[in-house]
Symmetry: D2
Subunit: 140 residues, 4 copies
């Protein structure tokens, strides 16, 4: 794939639970930020994608995360984010979070290409991802 | 004052920092919830106040909090919320958070009666709080 | 399985993103709370399990969540939590979050039975889940 | 005063409420981080202060914040943190948060020099701040 988003985090006091390790919902806050950063770094910010294609964000329909080792107060973390697959109406992003060089968390999100339904109700329906978007972000 | 909002909280794992005490920004999350609950309990929900009076929420302009004793994992807390003062365009709410019968945190918010500015810019300006609102919520 | 933990949530202002829907990391905060509540409701609180068996929490090694419909400000949600599987050293918990009677999010956590490693380093290692624990929580 | 801590933040999706403005408890998360960063930048990290002087953090006993203008998604914020006063057993820190060059939030924390009480109960008591600490951080 063409683009990789990168992000660094220093684990703060408020990110940790009483055990001293990161409270795990915070990993998802970071992955959500990493997703926005990914599109910014690709110079196709999510807001511009929305305007160009009439989508309403990239709604999350599935996430899977594997926690391989704990991260603790003051640890310096890195996140690498990639689009790791395109289906007709969905795409898959993978976030690899490392701590001192070792993978600590790996997460995969599935998001759909959401446009307003033609019935005017405001609800979203999945549409086909345009070929130029797939080409730009590095699909086959 | 006429109305008191009450709310109970059991301190959860994710509410606490590595010290085992509540991470203090979480108190403000609870006080914000207490504010919404206060208006619901008064049977004049914030959403109805907005529609009836053309306000856009009750924007916070000041908050002061005193932390008197720590709260820890599994502690059962209570919050009592009252309107403790009306000025012409602002009101003051006080949240008293107790832990095992003793006051642990006391916070006072100042919020303004915000309406859209006549210039059409979308920005908010403070307007006079209507007499019926002051009467309903127990002003002098 | 024998036990079901239940929990209700009213979606608050601070739980939602600018779209008006719940910011998804908050679901994981709620599922973590649901996990603690599950053991409390089973009258075998996590803290007592730790003391009785020498475990250090039930570290999360994997989570998978499917987001089926959005939840919005003031929605009244329910969560049902169950242990849906035991392996030799791990267990699987499933959280079913409903909104107005329909499943909105379904999440499955894999957690391991973590004890201090014999090498004295403080790190955790997975141990076999005792038969009485499996029996108590309803394993085959 | 001698030291100023500086920090920058880009407002993220999850930092904002449905209004599109920052959900205000998040400002306190950032001010707490700014406090840790301040001591790191002064090359006297909080952890070293604790070890050198037997204190247990710098417990917060009071905070006051004034919200002057809203901050919104993608705004680039700056925070400047200073110690703005020493009393015998407490110190005052001020955080000035700017958005596009204008002060958006100003907050002042009062924290005490907390050591373990001599009674062995584990509770904290306020002690006099050592003269070298006051001198180092720029007190008169």
């Amino acid at each position: 794939m063409k683009h990789t988003g990168t992000m660094t985090i220093t684990v703060g006091w408020g990110d940790c639970a009483p055990s001293g390790a990161v409270y795990y919902p915070n990993y998802f806050r970071w992955f959500d930020t990493a997703m926005w950063n990914f599109f910014d770094a690709a110079e196709w910010p999510l807001r511009e994608l929305e305007q160009a294609h009439g989508i309403v964000g990239l709604p999350l329909i599935e996430t899977r995360a594997n926690f391989k080792r704990p991260c603790r107060l003051h640890d310096a973390l890195g996140i690498e984010t990639r689009i790791t697959g395109f289906q007709r109406k969905t795409l898959e992003m993978t976030h690899t979070l490392t701590n001192a060089g070792a993978v600590a968390v790996e997460a995969t999100d599935v998001r759909f290409w959401g446009v307003r339904h033609a019935d005017g109700s405001g609800r979203l329906t999945a549409a086909e991802i345009p070929a130029d978007v797939i080409a730009f972000f590095g699909g086959a």
